[in-house]
């Protein structure tokens, strides 16, 4: 039967938000197509108990295929999914993005001679088929992608799909025996998911508080660090202040720095010249604080505050802490 097979990544006894989003999306689309959404999990059986796997039913999966195999590596999952699809005829494979999502999806596309689209932000049903939408050219344009193969591989942008519980149902769990390809067993995980707290990679942060010339001086970043701490985010900087030595180059955003697309980008004292804009325009929510009402940033911010950041930022930090506490 046709259907949608979704990969779910687990770690430390839980499925990550990204995977739950993918399963939810798979369920939504399967509903519209009149078919079923199934999930596949691969790993050490000890960590993939029945209850955990069945919980994916709450997000809309009817069945969960479970395969014992190496964790954190893509190619064994390609083998597992290729086998399941080969035996059951799923029409679409869906991934929630992230490193493994990309690697598995691409490998699966090669294995099954399938069309693959990555960085997908939206999927819709058209004439009984799925059409993926993805941004291209640094988010300046969006294109539709149609699949012309028996299997269509959809790899979402990280966190593009929202996790939605659709009921209490429990998914049935089916164990799958996979004969892994020799090459799939040639990579061995030594250490997985090491946290290197010291250098926060701003490209991965969900929330960024960025400072520009408008801060007035290097010490201005102290208030931003407080705010970032309260919001649970990281601090970024414009080229101008990095040049002036107020903050480190690793935090630089813009044409010649990093490109980021966090859930929240709060810009303090930043004018929004295009050299900076191109580094952060893909952010989901842009809040700008600037004393100049004519600053270009107000043209593309979602919320703009015209005022003195030296007054606003510290009070905002307190207000955020208060809201989170109470």
């Amino acid at each position: 039967m046709s259907g949608i097979l979704v990969y779910a990544l687990h770690h430390d006894g839980a499925f990550n938000k990204n995977s739950l989003g993918a399963v939810s999306e798979g369920a939504r689309l399967a509903g519209e197509l009149g078919t079923e959404c199934h999930a596949v999990v691969v790993g050490d059986p000890a960590g993939l108990g029945d209850e955990l796997c069945a919980s994916l039913g709450r997000y809309g999966a009817r069945k969960v295929y479970r395969a014992a195999g190496p964790e954190g590596l893509a190619q064994p999952v390609v083998d597992a999914m290729a086998k399941i699809i080969g035996e059951n005829g799923h029409r679409y494979a869906l991934f929630g993005g992230g490193l493994l999502g990309f690697e598995i999806g691409a490998g699966l596309a090669a294995r099954r001679d399938a069309g693959v689209c990555m960085e997908v932000t939206h999927v819709r049903v058209e004439d009984g088929k799925l059409v993926s939408e993805r941004p291209i050219l640094q988010d300046s344009s969006v294109t539709d992608v149609h699949y012309r193969s028996d299997l269509g591989v959809i790899i979402g942008r990280l966190n593009a799909f929202e996790a939605r519980e659709s009921g209490d149902a429990s998914a049935t769990v089916e164990d799958v025996q996979v004969d892994f390809e020799p090459h799939s067993l040639k990579a061995k995980m030594v250490t997985r998911g090491e946290q290197r707290g010291a250098d926060v990679n701003i490209e991965d942060a969900d929330i960024l508080v960025a400072g520009g010339r408008g801060l007035g001086k290097a010490e201005g970043f102290e208030a931003l660090e407080q705010l970032a701490g309260a919001l649970g985010g990281a601090v970024a900087a414009t080229r101008a202040v990095v040049d002036a030595g107020w903050y480190s180059y690793s935090a630089q955003i813009g044409q010649t720095g990093k490109t980021v697309s966090p859930k929240l980008y709060l810009a303090a004292g930043i004018s929004g010249a295009i050299q900076h804009k191109v580094g952060m325009q893909g952010s989901e929510n842009i809040v700008a604080i600037n004393k100049d009402a004519n600053a270009p940033i107000f043209e593309f911010s979602d919320l703009g505050i015209v005022g003195d950041l030296n007054k606003i930022v510290p009070k905002l930090t307190e207000a955020v802490k208060a809201r989170k506490a109470g």
Partner: protein, 573 residues
Amino acid sequence: MASPNGHRSVAPIEFPPPVDPAAEFIGPPTDPEDERIEVGVAIVGGGQAGMACAIRLLQLLEDDPELAESLGEVPVAVIEKGRVAGAHQLSGGVMNPSAIRSLFPEDDSWPHFGEVGKETVYFMLTAKRALPLKPTPPPFRNHGNYVVSVAELNRWLGERAEEAGAYVLSETVGAKLLVDDGLVVGVRTGDKGRDRQGGEKSNFEPGSDVVANATVLAEGCWGHLTGAALKGLGLAAGDPQVWALGVKEVWEVPQPLDRVIHTLGWPLRPQAKYKEFGGSWIYPMNRAGAQPRVSLGFVIGLEYADARLSVHDVLQEFKLHPLVRRILADGKRVAWGAKAIPEGGYWAMPRLHAPGMVICGDGGGMVNVPRLKGIHYAIRSGMLAAETIYSRLKSGSHDFSPYDRAVHDSEIGKDLYESRNMKQPFGKGLVVGGAITNAMVVTKGRLPGGHWATHRDADQPLMLTDRHERYPKPDGKYTFDKLSGVFLTGNATRDDAPSHIRIQQRVPRELAEAWTWMCPAGVYEVPEDAPDGGEHVDLIVNPSNCVQCGAITAKGGRLTPPEGGDGPVYQVT
């Protein structure tokens, strides 16, 4: 001359840049002999002059295998600092086709936007009115000439040069002129991978000594090595070189423009004290199968006296004139750029040769300002250089003086001599001959009278006025700020590179403001908290914005080439 707020006016020359070009940029080879790179002829600059020289040389060498062989594995090398040849090219431009047709008698496939048909010169009386000057003053008659984009033309020439066998070394800077015992023996290329403080990063790559039998300096309007050679080898002319700054935009428009347009007058101020000489051009870029485009720009001589004059902003203001609005209506800006233009003409032309070396093109001041022509001179001088070098190398000589004579005997020398006195009263910039007469009649003598002695652009004392209050606030659709233009050029100068601009940073406010307003790329800034009065301010320099137009070299600083490959990537300018 005191400025309105009372204190003594300052001229940039009083704060010269910390640089000694002759000492720093000229010297003997330093690499061990077996590590030097040997080429036959080294050409610094891959513009029209450089490529024409390369092509002509290879044409001659094709019929002379003996000399070709004696020049070794790399008979002709072109050293170009841009990402590719053409990346740093910008001009109006309307080109006289005679030289390129001499170079390629059997190939007329060089790219252009058609022969000039109709043309009109307007005198802009006010922000709303324009008066066509009839008949069209002689210097503006372009019958038989072609509208071109030098960025495009240069790429075509570069391909022809490579096809002919030239080694085009792009992203490579000619950093130092190699002179051994009075003989120019080549150039040293620039280092790559230095950090902000000038230290060596992990991927540091030193430049190399490129030694050659003949060296051609074809560096364009602000020639780095040319400037050093003029001082160090005593080649400077009687009169100092002077420059104008041109800022250009290319627009996609719904309706094709049907004529070549030049304007004089507004927004420039006619009063003598401002010394504002210049004007605009608007050229059609129409080509079958492509959306019509328009090239427009404003040029102002850099001897202007108002520290708050900004050519970029004057261009934005100029676009508000109804005549221009009509042309650009519903259009979209697709390119922006800036470049200096040598304006000294005949009297400022340096000696064009030294033992082992010649100077071609804009670097040698070969621009006919009244006629706005220089592209075909660049090509012609490149060809003449090739011919002299060829014949002298055959006889084993490094004396290239016949080249200097050849240039002066050619149309270059003749045309420049003819317009040699255009530097007088109204002769600077675009105001000449019949246009002056027409303009004087129309403005009832408002145009300045009297005699203007020529002096260095940097000698001009500066005044502060309220000129800046009339610049339009950029709306991001029709008028633009400087930074968005810099972004459009594809400028990817490395952030952590050392600053390539030699300039004094603690200077009087007028000077800091002059540089800030002058620079079309926003390289210089006056700090927000800087004192308003006559005290000195600490100039902020943002070298990574630099599009290497060269204006700063005219007006008190000294541009040097940043790392090879840096700067704009012009495509249609």
